[in-house]
Structure formats: structure tokens, C-alpha cells
């Protein structure tokens, strides 16, 4: 992907527009840094008293007839949801955007069980037609140009009048409206869950989550246990914050609170309302005092947007549900440290993510901790040897001085093989020149001077 200059250009241009909008919205906050601090404190309270808040949430939800299900693993959550769908003798399912469902591969599980699943968020709908995972946790199809979307619609839907975004949206809308009406079950994610009132808060820009929740008889909301906020009034901060950090908007287009199934005397809402609370290794993050703050994450995508790694390698390169800095931090916890530690090493530790995070997760320092844990658990023989050898040289004035002299003496030998496979420094020199070792080092000069 780093060789695909056009793609890198496309992503950078898209994110440049995001940055301009985000900065404008950030400036509308009286004090963005104070807002971050308040958000971090609220999330800290929520996460550090998760046991109490979850009980309160569930009690309130159940008191109005919501069925709450606990899922320890992704597979359990899939089974629970497939079970609900099967019990309703349902065939078709409409879904609104939920990264948690990507995390547990819910669509594959439901399709495997014989159900039709259609994504209703436009970006998700597009990547579903392409049979690929979302490129970005907030902008699933940001990697595609209008032309590519037109070609896709032409091929898959047989209808695409032009590259015009409005016309393309209308094509998707015509297809999706029929799906909403035909769907027996609607599945949503959640942005927040309010313990105090027992409500699920969903933020979106297309109205698709509302239709997903309102039209089918059965609604299922799937969410990680870390989505809990203690109080309803916390949304006064979190809704504008999520919109600002996530998309550079003052508020998202639609913010809806779901308190349960249709109550007697109410004229709309689903007949049945299920909430599936997912652990899937979140409790191991909770047990890790060093990295517990990763549960603060509101999945706004701000860290991806500012990450120079993400901008240059793109979302699909990560091969994970959660990409970018937050993905690099939590994926080793969710899917195994040794298999996913490379993500924590694939960072220059620049800290742009930590600076951008609206809930103040110490992202780039967590990457360092993951590296330490990975190397402690399974050190590389040669790398450790190299660091040990370096320590011996650096700690000896004689060896250090000798090393510099030898380096200076032998560096002309490297020039003819520069950047080739013979060059021991090829990892660097393939694309970059080495800085020459000085004939007289600083310390030589200093010694003479005295």
C-alpha cells in the first residue's frame, strides 16, 4: 500500500478535510482540553465501577421489558443472536453500523445459519457489496472513489446513473427501503448505554439506525460492556464530543435513545427489544491496571485520522477489526499478544494519537508497554543479543571510541554496495543515505580541547 501513491493521496486528502472540520468544531468548545479531561474522568468512573453501572443498566432495561443477554465470547454472542432470529422464525435481517458486530464476525455467523443480512449504513452497504471489511471504524468506505462506487453499483445493483453522490445515495436508498420493510429483525450497535435510565444511545448520520430499530418487529442491540456511562446528563458532553472528534460535526445527524420495547399505549417501536452485552476479553483489559483506560474508547476514530502510519498504510493493512492506534493497542489483548505484537512495533511512537484522543487514552505509551510485554514473554535471541552487545560497547569509553574509529575507517567499503542485498544496513539504505561517521567525534574534540 505504501507504494500506491494515488491511494495514499486519496486518504490524505480525505483526512485533510476532516481535520479542517474538526478544528472548527473543536474551537466551538469553550475549552476542548477541559472537555477531554471531563470526558476522561467520566469514563474513568464508568469503567472503574463497571460492576455497579452494569447492574443498574440491566435492572433498568429489564424493568421495561427488555431482554438482556450476557455473552462472554464473540461466538456466544453470535449464538445468542442467531437463536433469537431463529426463534422468531425470521429470514431477513437489517443491520445498522456496529463495529462490535465486525469484531465477532456476526454477519458471517448469521449468513452461515441461513439468514439474509443487509447493512444499512451507506458505507457499510458499499463494503458489504464488495465483500470486504470496513476500511475505517467510522468511514467504512473512505478508500473508494465515487467512480469505483458507481462501477460497484452498476455491477451489483444494475443501477448507477452517474458519479454524483446524491444520485448514488438514491440508488442505495431505493434498495435499502425495500429491505427495511421486508426485515423481520433489526440489529444495531450502540454508542453509549446509560446506567441511570437504562437506555441505549445510538448516534448516526443517515437515519438508517432509526429505521433499523423502528420497522422490524424485533430489535437487537449488540454492545461491549464498556459502553456504559453513569448518567443521562453525561451525553451532553459525549454526544458533541463524539461528533467533533469522529467526523468534525457539531452533533451527528440523529441521536436516539432506546429505552425498551413498545410500551402499552405507545404507537411505535419494536415489539421485542434485546440487548446483548459482550465481554470478549474486555474484562482482561479491565484487569490490566496499566491499560484499563483503553476501555474509555468511544470508537470515534480520531486516533486513526491523525495517525501517520494509518495514513500511509491504510485501514485494510492492519488485518484487524479495529485499525489505527487503538487497534494496535487492543488487538494483542483481544486476539493474542504474540500474533498481533507487530502492530505495536509498527509505530514511530509519535504520540499524535494520544494528543487527539478525546477521552485521553495513553495510546502511544500503551504501544511501548505491549512491546515490553511481548519481548519479556518471548524475546528474540538476536535482538536481545544485539541490545546486550550495544550496552557493553556504550558503557565502555574504550569500546565506544574504538567503535566510532572502526566505523569511520570501514564506511567507505559500504559505499559501493549501498542499498543492495550485500549491504548490512540495507533496511535503511535501500531508500535513505546513511549519515557519515565523523572523523573527529564530539568526544574526541572535547578531550583535545581540554
Amino acid at each position: 500500500m505504501t507504494r500506491d501513491l494515488g491511494h495514499r493521496q486519496h486518504i490524505r486528502a480525505a483526512l485533510r478535510n476532516y481535520e479542517i472540520a474538526r478544528d472548527k468544531r473543536k474551537a466551538a468548545f469553550q475549552d476542548w482540553q477541559a472537555a477531554r479531561q471531563a470526558a476522561a474522568e467520566t469514563k474513568w468512573e464508568a469503567v472503574n465501577h463497571l460492576d455497579q453501572h452494569l447492574v443498574e443498566l440491566v435492572t433498568k432495561l429489564e424493568s421495561r421489558g427488555t431482554r438482556v443477554h450476557w455473552a462472554g465470547t464473540g461466538a456466544q454472542a453470535c449464538d445468542i443472536i442467531a437463536g433469537i432470529v431463529r426463534d422468531r422464525k425470521a429470514r431477513s435481517i437489517i443491520k445498522s453500523k456496529a463495529m462490535t458486530s465486525e469484531e465477532i464476525h456476526l454477519n458471517e455467523a448469521l449468513e452461515h445459519a441461513g439468514f439474509d443480512v443487509v447493512e444499512s449504513d451507506l458505507g457499510e452497504f458499499i463494503v458489504q457489496l464488495r465483500h470486504e471489511p470496513p476500511y475505517h471504524i467510522v468511514f467504512p468506505s473512505m478508500h473508494l472513489t465515487r467512480g469505483e462506487i458507481r462501477e460497484l453499483f452498476q455491477r451489483e445493483l444494475g443501477d448507477a446513473p452517474s458519479d454524483n453522490p446524491e444520485e448514488l445515495t438514491m440508488v442505495a436508498r431505493r434498495v435499502l427501503r425495500k429491505k427495511y420493510i421486508a426485515a423481520d429483525v433489526g440489529i444495531t450497535g450502540a454508542n453509549f448505554a446509560i446506567a441511570e435510565t437504562g437506555m441505549i444511545s445510538i448516534t448516526e448520520n443517515e437515519g438508517n439506525a432509526r429505521l433499523t430499530a423502528a420497522l422490524p418487529k424485533t430489535m437487537i442491540a449488540l454492545l461491549g460492556i464498556e459502553k456504559v456511562l453513569p448518567r443521562l446528563e453525561d451525553l451532553a458532553l459525549f454526544l458533541p464530543m463524539l461528533a467533533t472528534a469522529g467526523a468534525g460535526q457539531p452533533m451527528s445527524g440523529y441521536n436516539t435513545l432506546y429505552g425498551g420495547p413498545r410500551q402499552p399505549g405507545e404507537c411505535d417501536g419494536p415489539e421485542e427489544f434485546h440487548v446483548v452485552l459482550l465481554d470478549n476479553h474486555r474484562t482482561s483489559l479491565l484487569a490490566d491496571a496499566e491499560q484499563r483506560d483503553t476501555l474509555h474508547c468511544i470508537r470515534c476514530g480520531a486516533c486513526l485520522n491523525v495517525c501517520p502510519i494509518f495514513r500511509n498504510v491504510g485501514g485494510h493493512t492492519y488485518g484487524t477489526t479495529y485499525s489505527g492506534p487503538i487497534g494496535s493497542v487492543i488487538t494483542p489483548h483481544l486476539r493474542g499478544l504474540q500474533d498481533w505484537k507487530h502492530l505495536s512495533f509498527a509505530s514511530s511512537l509519535c504520540g499524535a494519537c494520544t494528543e487527539a484522543c478525546p477521552v485521553k487514552i495513553d495510546l502511544h505509551h500503551h504501544l511501548l508497554q505491549n512491546r515490553r510485554n511481548a519481548s519479556d514473554q518471548k524475546p528474540s535471541f538476536f535482538e536481545r543479543l544485539a541490545h546486550r552487545a550495544f550496552a557493553v560497547i556504550a558503557n565502555s569509553t574504550v569500546l565506544w571510541s574504538l567503535g566510532k574509529k572502526l566505523g569511520w575507517l570501514f564506511q567507505p567499503l559500504q559505499r559501493p554496495i549501498k542499498g543492495t542485498a550485500l549491504d548490512p544496513a540495507q533496511a535503511w539504505t535501500k531508500t535513505r543515505d546513511l549519515a557519515p561517521i565523523a572523523r573527529e567525534s564530539f568526544k574526541d574534540w572535547w578531550r583535545k580541547r581540554k
Binding site: P308, T431, R432
Partner: protein, 243 residues
């Protein structure tokens, strides 16, 4: 204003010692001209960051403990690199947490200054009487910028340099992709990041990229030289000793 004479312990990082001695010499020249005494312990070579960033904390401590030992009695330490400065100032307390050196690491950290921060914040000096007839753009090294909060200090110093024109690049705060061992472990990503950085610097039409962090400049210069670009890189201290 009467200047109180200080004894400043200079920490010249390993790569500055071997590759960029002139930056170190410029720092010595500046500090001495301001009337301070400069000492430089010959036993210290490296802060231990390569091993630390690679996850080998025990090996990092083997190097860092030497640093602590020789900085133990220093009242003021100046480091000629934002990145190594952040290592000693911010990461040593973590690296040595729950070890016999924990307290010493915390104490030393409070006495460490990055060079430009030291001049502007501690000494209150911005005008060093330098002249540097060139157009320059400034690269904010990530560690200096985000770990140590250094943004205004080098610019305050550059603003007082005669005949110098500072042209900010759009990607001034974007990482250049060096990242220590990252640049060798993930050369393709590192290079791609460096290309973005260098393109932004070239766009300004500047003659030099100036920074307070030579490790970043080593990466950028490496790319620029390979591309055959006329744009050069130079450490802030060398600009401040220009005549």
C-alpha cells in the same frame, strides 16, 4: 541583567557524538558564551532508548543506569535532542520504577533540559546575536513536541536570528517516520512517512529544515540526499552560532 554562572552538564547522545559533532560544538559555544561552565562526562554514550523502544527494558536499564550514575550530582543537565531528553525526563522514572534507582531516576529527570527549552525557559535568552541568511522551515520532533511540550521555544530563538526567514510547512507537526528501530524494522512505512514530510518541507521553498532533534534530521537528510534534493537539514544550535 547579571548572569548567574551555572555548571551545565552536557549530555551528547550517541549518534550526535559520532555523526553530528558540530551540533554539540555549537551548543558548547553558545552555553559558554552565555557565561556558563560546561562539563561533559566522557562515560555517558547513550540514553538506552533503542532497547527501551524495542521492549528490552532490562537491556535499556543496563545502559541507562550508567547515565544515572554520572548525572547523579549534576545540578543542570542539557541534552542535545528532544527524543533523548524525553527518554531521560519522562521515561526513566517508568523504566526504573520499583528498582533501587527509582528515586534517583525521578530526581535526575527533574534536572534535565532539552537544549532550546533550556535557553528560552530556564535562561530566558532568545537573542544570541546570530546571523543566518537563509529561508528555513522547522521540523517539530515528536518527542520534543508531545512528550516535552516544546513548540514555541525554538521558534522564539529563530525569530531573533538576523536575515533568517522562517516558513512553516503544513506538516510541521507530522512525524517524519524515523522512530528509532522502527525505521529499520518497517522501512517501507518509515520511508512513506518521510516522503510526506520532505515533500511538505520542499513545498515551502526553504533552503534548510531546522530542528532541535538530529535523529529526525538524520532520517530526512537520508531521504533528501537519496532523492538528490538541494534542501539541507541543520540543527538549531548550528543556526544559532551562524555569523
Amino acid at each position: 541583567m547579571r548572569i548567574q554562572r551555572m555548571t551545565i552538564t552536557l549530555f551528547i547522545p550517541c549518534f550526535v557524538d559520532a555523526l553530528y559533532p558540530r551540533a554539540g560544538m555549537s551548543v558548547v559555544q553558545i552555553l559558554e558564551r552565555l557565561g556558563h561552565k560546561v562539563v561533559c562526562p566522557k562515560e555517558i554514550a547513550c540514553c538506552g532508548q533503542p532497547a527501551f523502544n524495542s521492549g528490552y527494558w532490562a537491556e535499556a536499564r543496563a545502559v541507562a543506569v550508567k547515565v544515572l550514575e554520572h548525572l547523579k550530582d549534576a545540578e543542570t543537565v542539557v541534552i542535545v535532542s528532544g527524543s533523548c531528553g524525553a527518554m531521560v525526563k519522562n521515561f526513566y522514572p517508568q523504566l526504573f520504577a520499583s528498582t533501587p534507582q527509582a528515586e534517583l531516576a525521578r530526581q535526575v529527570a527533574t534536572r534535565v533540559w532539552e537544549f532550546s527549552d533550556f535557553l528560552v525557559t530556564k535562561l530566558g535568552v532568545t537573542d544570541l546575536g546570530a546571523r543566518f541568511p537563509a529561508r528555513v522551515t522547522f521540523h517539530d520532533g515528536c518527542h520534543g513536541l508531545r512528550e516535552l511540550g516544546i513548540k514555541k521555544q525554538p521558534r522564539a530563538l529563530l525569530a531573533k536570528v538576523r536575515d533568517l526567514q522562517l516558513i512553516e510547512m503544513t506538516e510541521a507537526e507530522t512525524c517524519c517516520g524515523f522512530g528509532g528501530t522502527f525505521s529499520a524494522k518497517f522501512p517501507a512505512i518509515s520511508t512513506a512517512m518521510g516522503e510526506v514530510k520532505c515533500a511538505s518541507a520542499i513545498e515551502t521553498g526553504a533552503d534548510y529544515i531546522v530542528s532541535n532533534d538530529l535523529s529526525c534530521l538524520m532520517h530526512q537528510q537520508g531521504l533528501l540526499s537519496r532523492q538528490g534534493s538541494k534542501l539541507k537539514t541543520i540543527h538549531l544550535a548550528e543556526v544559532l552560532t551562524g555569523k
